[in-house]
């Protein structure tokens, strides 16, 4: 907040041009990085070709959640609910009550903050197969707190029956969608949309709902990460190798139910343990891991890389990721400082 306030009304006098916030959905892909276009939309179409009970809904954000791909492929199985998120999720529950498998998309902020009661009582309590698709999770837009769902997992983790998935890349999303459709009960997918980086194909990885996967081994540090921060964790691991620091990376795309067994086995060593998440330090991956560690009586320090417990600034994503510690550079600096 301080940064925004300080610059308000002050003409830019520096030599470097200021970065622009640009579109609402800024890409976090690095220049030249391999990407896939609208992986969620295409995965949903593929799943729907095999499962005729799948239907899609949105609340006036079809184009912004890649749901438009499904709407074009299956117009008769797509329901536009208008900018009415309570109706969106109430109706999704009603569709599920008739035996259909709805995927309902909006931004994460609206799903978590605005429609919580409808998700909780209409889908989670009767354990219906309603799949929530939330765009702009964590810090993936520069539009400020109205659109930045920095506490969505904190809100949703307390909801009984709800499965929470925080995918890293296009591979995760493509493989998660049919598994979410097949799993009983409600799910929440932290959507990455547009041109989504393809990262995990280099690691012999497959997404399994409820499972954490060790992507690489390392002797000095173990990263436990989810979402797009797994991409950053892998990049930071490579950068740290140049400092002679050997880093393991464990990807935990399913936040709930959490694969504590795999994660604790990796944490219960002499290595520095670091969690990395695109979410507030309150109530997300860090606290999920911390709770597992304490419950198991490990007495182990865990260092969080996470967004601060604050309302974040507006601005360009690279600027904000650097400011709030999600950039590779900041991760590397933090690990080196911890290692002394």
């Amino acid at each position: 907040m301080s940064t925004a306030t300080a610059s308000k009304g002050t003409a830019s006098t520096g030599t470097a041009p200021k970065l622009k916030t640009s579109a609402m959905i800024a890409s976090f892909a690095d220049p030249g990085q391999k990407t896939a276009s609208a992986p969620f939309g295409h995965a949903l179409v593929k799943a729907a070709q095999e499962n005729d009970r799948i239907v899609g809904l949105t609340a006036d954000l079809g184009k912004y959640t890649d749901m438009h791909i499904f709407a074009q492929a299956f117009p008769e199985r797509f329901f536009q609910m208008g900018m009415a998120e309570q109706l969106l999720f109430g109706a999704a529950a009603g569709l599920a009550e008739t035996g259909l498998v709805p995927f309902a998309s909006t931004y994460s902020v609206f799903a978590a903050r605005r429609a919580y009661d409808f998700l909780c009582l209409d889908s989670a309590e009767p354990n219906l197969n309603v799949n929530i698709v939330g765009g702009l999770p964590g810090l993936t837009t520069g539009y400020g707190p109205s659109h930045q769902a920095t506490e969505d997992m904190a809100i949703f983790r307390g909801m009984p029956n709800l499965t929470i998935v925080d995918p890293c890349d296009s591979i995760d999303i493509e493989q998660a969608v049919p598994q979410l459709a097949a799993s009983e009960g409600p799910t929440y997918l932290r959507l990455l949309r547009g041109n989504v980086p393809t990262v995990l194909d280099e690691y012999g990885y497959t997404f399994e709902l409820g499972k954490a996967k060790v992507l690489r081994g390392g002797n000095d540090v173990v990263f436990i990460s989810s979402g797009l921060m797994t991409m950053r964790a892998l990049q930071a691991a490579k950068a740290l190798a140049e400092h002679n620091v050997d880093v393991a990376v464990v990807h935990t795309p399913t936040i709930k139910p959490f694969d504590a067994a795999t994660v604790l086995a990796e944490i219960n060593t002499d290595r520095l343990a670091v969690t990395l998440e695109n979410h507030s330090v309150i109530g997300g991956l860090f606290e999920t891991v911390a709770s597992a560690v304490v419950t198991a009586g490990l007495g182990k320090k865990v260092v969080p890389v996470a967004l601060p417990d604050e309302f974040l600034d507006a601005g360009a994503l690279p600027t904000l990721h650097e400011r709030y510690g999600l950039s590779v550079q900041r991760i590397v600096a933090k690990v080196l400082a911890e290692l002394g």
């Binding site: 329901f79 309570q86 999704a92 009603g94 569709l95 008739t98 009582l121 209409d122």
Partner: protein
């Protein structure tokens, strides 16, 4: 008089007789629903008896006349869906489910007791025939929209009924759903609003003014009827009108029912209206006697 005319005359007389019989039968069901509700209220010593008595005619019209269901198979796929979004009206709904043969009458005395299938606030996970978990008000119509869409998409001719209270008209989500139902032309959806003009904190017009209710629903594009919700002939006519224009694709329908809290029991009709009505131990029998006297008085007229 020709044979044809004679036949026509007989048919008309039969229709009149059948119509009277129909009203009589559904009124009898309403009487039994009220009786059940009083018995359940006595077990708890208090509760939403006033609402159950007020809404008993609406519930009887649904369960004894309109709804297609199979008592032995509450999950029957072809059934019409009745969604109670006002969870606290469960006492009245349980009474109607007993009248419909879906819940045994003997089970009603477990209402609100530990481990009962009949909790104070209605939940689908507890009770056969209970389609949704109501209670958080303003949910029912949004779920009804999804159900109506889902049934229509799957080619079902089942209809969806949503029971709302006038208090639920305070909730923005109700109007999101009203817009959505019209946008999607859910002609298989009928909403019924119990307008008892009473909310938790007092009279509706002092809590949050909802009138003009009729004009609101009309402006949202619904086929709108407003009736005396304690007049069985008016109620059945309204349901018939709604049924006549029900279609897979068409206007959704709403029946606005003005009702009286405590209806059928003068002692309670005259009592100061409260959301959660207190009834003394010795008064329950008196309530039942007044109910029966009133019902028999009307039936013999």
């Amino acid at each position: 008089m020709t044979a044809t005319e004679e036949a026509r005359m007989t048919a008309t007389q039969e229709t009149v007789a059948t119509a009277a019989e129909r009203i009589h039968n559904v009124s009898a069901a309403a009487y039994r629903i009220r009786h059940h509700a009083l018995n359940m209220g006595e077990v708890q010593g208090q509760g939403y008896v006033g609402q159950a008595l007020g809404a008993a005619d609406m519930l009887a019209a649904v369960y004894a006349d309109q709804l297609r269901f199979q008592a032995a198979d509450p999950e029957w796929e072809g059934r019409d869906r009745f969604l109670l979004s006002t969870g606290h009206y469960a006492i009245g709904h349980y009474a109607a489910l007993a009248e419909a043969g879906i819940v045994p009458v003997e089970e009603l005395e477990t209402y609100g007791s530990d481990d009962s299938r009949l909790p104070m606030s209605g939940m689908s996970t507890y009770t056969p025939g209970m389609e949704i978990s109501g209670g958080s008000l303003g949910h029912g119509l949004t779920i009804a929209v999804g159900m109506a869409l889902g049934l229509r998409y799957q080619g079902s001719t089942a209809r969806v009924y949503n029971f709302l209270s006038d208090g639920e008209l305070d909730e923005g989500s109700t109007w999101e759903a009203a817009m959505g139902a019209h946008h999607h032309q859910l002609g298989n959806l009928t909403a019924m609003v119990d307008i008892n003009a009473l909310q938790a904190d007092g009279k509706t017009d002092t809590v949050l003014r909802t009138e003009p209710v009729t004009e609101k629903w009309e402006s949202f594009g619904w086929y709108t009827q407003r009736v005396d919700g304690n007049n069985m002939a008016e109620l059945l006519q309204a349901f018939d009108n709604a049924a006549a224009q029900a279609a897979a694709v068409g206007r959704p329908s709403v029946i606005l029912c003005d009702t009286k809290v405590g209806r059928g029991v003068p002692l309670l009709e005259e009592r100061e209206k409260a959301h959660f009505m207190r009834i003394e131990e010795h008064e329950w029998q008196q309530c039942r006697e007044q109910l029966t006297a009133g019902y028999e008085g009307r039936a013999s007229r």
